[in-house]
Symmetry: C2
């Protein structure tokens, strides 16, 4: 059977080297939640870009440009990192370049994987179904916060690993076991569980409670964005 591993930081990702694996990149608050929402609302393609300047250069190519640093929108961008910015009337049929503090950096770190999917609580069931079709080892790459461990991405990793383990996937690494254990504690009330987490409190100062609540909701979306020839697409 294939296995599922969980990587808590992009810095640790080289330790999980597995050229045949499917990599799921997650940045629950809020990059991958925004990307999934974008595709559900009709985005055509997205590019995940590491640098601010490079992102802005996509404006000349007709892209919408989205991004934040430390939770706040940057000058010259069309919108920041809130999933609520990705309204159907704004994004339908458009291409979007996105750069965020953590999430897009993780996409860039894993860009050479056999297959790279974008994961969030919003699309977890659709994602799980898509992964099961692949029948390969899975690495859940948590974007974390500036390469540090974070709780919300770990909970997502635990939720996904639990689903995959229920389908017979092996749990070979302690981080997968820990993520599942934490998810079991959290799932009766994820919002309450995260009440003392660091990034939630970081966002609280930015008055983003509605964003947080939305990003912690399961299965509102059905898109499973994947990386193909350097751009994110949803192959429905």
């Amino acid at each position: 059977m294939p296995s599922v591993s969980v990587c808590f930081s992009p810095i640790l990702f080289p330790l999980f080297k597995n050229d045949d694996a499917v990599v799921v990149v997650v940045d629950v608050l809020r990059a991958t939640s925004a990307i999934v929402t974008g595709f559900d609302h009709g985005v055509n393609v997205m590019v995940a870009v590491a640098g601010i300047e490079e992102t802005l250069s996509y404006k000349d190519k007709g892209y919408l440009v989205a991004g934040e640093r430390n939770g706040e929108m940057q000058e010259g961008f069309d919108f920041g990192n809130s999933p609520f910015s990705y309204k159907p009337e704004v994004v339908k049929g458009r291409n979007v370049a996105i750069s965020t503090t953590n999430g897009t950096q993780a996409v860039v770190a894993a860009k050479d994987s056999h297959k790279l999917f974008i994961g969030a609580f919003l699309n977890i069931s659709a994602l799980c179904k898509r992964i099961l079709n692949e029948n390969r080892d899975v690495i859940v790459l948590c974007a974390g916060w500036k390469n540090k461990f974070n709780l919300e991405d770990t909970l997502f990793a635990g939720a996904l690993a639990e689903k995959l383990a229920g389908n017979g996937y092996l749990l070979n690494c302690d981080s997968a076991l820990a993520a599942i254990e934490l998810w079991k504690n959290a799932k009766p009330d994820v919002n309450a569980f995260l009440a003392t987490s660091s990034h939630r409190n970081r966002l609280k100062h930015l008055d983003l409670e509605a964003d947080i609540k939305y990003c912690l909701t399961l299965d509102l979306c059905k898109s499973v964005p994947e990386l193909e020839a350097g751009v994110l697409v949803w192959k429905d």
Copy 2:
């Protein structure tokens, strides 16, 4: 109040840079458990050495040399990584050079810290008392397994962080919150909680159940080894 942070891998340690902090290095299975046992049994000083060859060179200086790679003793060494090798009749009054897969690498990574203590379940209460006397920020550096997250070091970190939080220390990072959460789940029966963990299973193949049981026992030891001028000492 001072804070307590938990670092899950020596690779992530530079992200926690804090020149004023006390660093606690832990490698429950088995390096730091062995070191603590050694001092309780009368070791004079210990040096933690990264390389095998460098460790062997200490023989010429009259040191006992101890070490393992992947859980197994290396040729030319006096003993491996089992705490049971550190018998009083063998180690009393002796100097020991030690090199292990993970634990001593973590000591080397944190050697420039303001203060570095050796932690294990075996000395957790004595260690906590010693830390409280310092009244500084604390970073628990988990040795992990070849730089990957591991459960047993994380549980120790959670146990220590819980004690320190009970004394008013702040929990600033998600990894400390996660470690405490995991410890709460584990503490009714740590041995059972770790039954599926990766390193435990690695050691099981080496028939080390007695070592594991010993290393998971709280407060059998009273030594709190610390790094001073490059060598580990116990200042009783």
